[in-house]
């Protein structure tokens, strides 16, 4: 029989999600900073502000993926996007953990928080 899912397991899962999110987004931001050290003129040539959908599309793994990432602006934008996704991911992890713990009252509460955030994302992407 599988051992029951405990609060300690949830804490580890949430903690790792947050840590990985901060590390990954910082890597993108630092990469943008290093790229701009070599091409400081690029900081003056701002790219058009990408919408959320355009930004997510930039992450598609095609043959131009690495060429796109030579632009510090796009690296910065991707770093910001990943950072903004980190707390959302930790809500998803909390929902999964509460479900495994069969603590349904907090599953409902966490789903409500996720719903409110997604509502904000929805309204923002339709602006």
């Amino acid at each position: 029989m599988r051992p029951p899912f405990t609060d300690t397991m949830m804490e580890r899962l949430v903690s790792r999600t947050l840590r990985i999110g901060v590390y990954t987004s910082s890597i993108f931001m630092l990469a943008g900073f290093i790229t701009s050290l070599f091409h400081p003129e690029m900081l003056s040539n701002a790219v058009d502000h990408p919408s959320l959908t355009q930004l997510i599309a930039l992450l598609r793994p095609d043959h131009d993926f690495f060429t796109r990432l030579l632009n510090p602006f796009l690296l910065f934008y991707l770093g910001i996007l990943l950072l903004m996704l980190t707390p959302i991911l930790r809500i998803v992890m909390a929902i999964a953990s509460f479900s495994l713990e069969r603590d349904f009252r907090f599953v409902v509460v966490s789903v409500m928080v996720l719903f409110i955030i997604l509502l904000s994302v929805y309204f923002s992407s339709s602006v």
């Binding site: 900081l43 910001i80 980190t86």
Partner: protein
């Protein structure tokens, strides 16, 4: 935007991160005026930068506090229902207000924070007594300073929810974490020990900030260079601040900080 401005923002973020870790507050109250008054960043962009920095510091600090069990995830999730609604309302309000009005409101906030800092310095920071263990949200952690396990349950959840709505609103409106309101309420009114209240508030502000961050993003208020320089600086600063916090006298820094807040408050109002 030049490489020189990038370094100025990075340095400002670094100092803010150190101060935040030393004083136990989010650095937004000092970093946003720094961006606005010294680097002439438009206030909406400065607030958006503050919001993204809040996500970064909250996620980094919470990843440690959650594993130490100081954070009460259940309490955090319940109060986030109110903080996120407040933050969305704040985000929309801020984007509708003019820069001049927002500056004045921010100046008022600086006075409020300065007052709370003076009160804390004057009265000390005694922990309110914890209540029994019969509430529906309970918590327990091992306190290394007291060498014992602390158990508590949360009283007056509706009160905490109401204040969380206000804290979330301030966060979305002015780009701060809102811990300045939530921590005393959780501690004094709801019987949550100070360590757990501070860790839970810190845990919540990341999700609260995300709720308004997307609104700022959609309104083109997030400047990628300003924001990333600030985030890198703040993250490194808070790492250094956490390391040196044990060796530095917090009271003197808190006094200087309060004085700086008052001056910044006046300048933001007169701007």
């Amino acid at each position: 935007m030049t490489l020189q401005s990038f370094f100025f923002i990075l340095a400002g973020g670094f100092v803010t991160g150190i101060l935040g870790a030393l004083l136990g507050i989010g650095g937004g109250v000092i970093f946003i005026p720094y961006l606005v008054l010294l680097l002439k960043v438009p206030i909406h962009q400065a607030i958006a930068t503050g919001i993204v920095c809040v996500i970064a510091t909250s996620s980094a600090t919470a990843s440690v506090n959650v594993e130490r069990k100081f954070t009460n995830i259940r309490l955090g999730m319940v109060l986030e229902v109110a903080t996120t609604v407040g933050a969305i309302l704040g985000g929309f309000t801020a984007n509708a207000l003019s820069g001049a009005v927002l500056s004045k409101v921010f100046g008022g906030l600086l006075f409020l924070v300065a007052f709370l800092m003076i009160r804390r310095l004057w009265m000390g920071r005694d922990d309110a007594p914890t209540s029994g263990e019969n509430g529906w949200i309970r918590g327990a952690y091992f306190d290394p300073a007291m060498s014992k396990e602390v158990r508590y349950s949360v009283r007056r959840v509706p009160v905490a929810l109401s204040f969380s709505l206000i804290a979330g609103n301030l966060s979305g409106l002015l780009g701060i974490g809102g811990g300045v309101i939530k921590v005393p309420v959780m501690n004094l009114m709801c019987g949550v020990p100070m360590k757990a209240a501070a860790a839970t508030s810190n845990f919540m502000i990341g999700v609260t900030a995300v709720a308004s961050a997307f609104i700022y993003y959609a309104n083109n208020r997030i400047h990628p260079v300003v924001t990333c320089a600030a985030v890198i600086g703040v993250l490194f600063g808070s790492m250094v601040g956490t390391t040196i916090s044990a060796k530095i006298r917090g009271r003197t820094i808190a006094l200087i900080f309060t004085f700086v807040l008052l001056i910044l408050g006046i300048r933001m109002i007169l701007r």
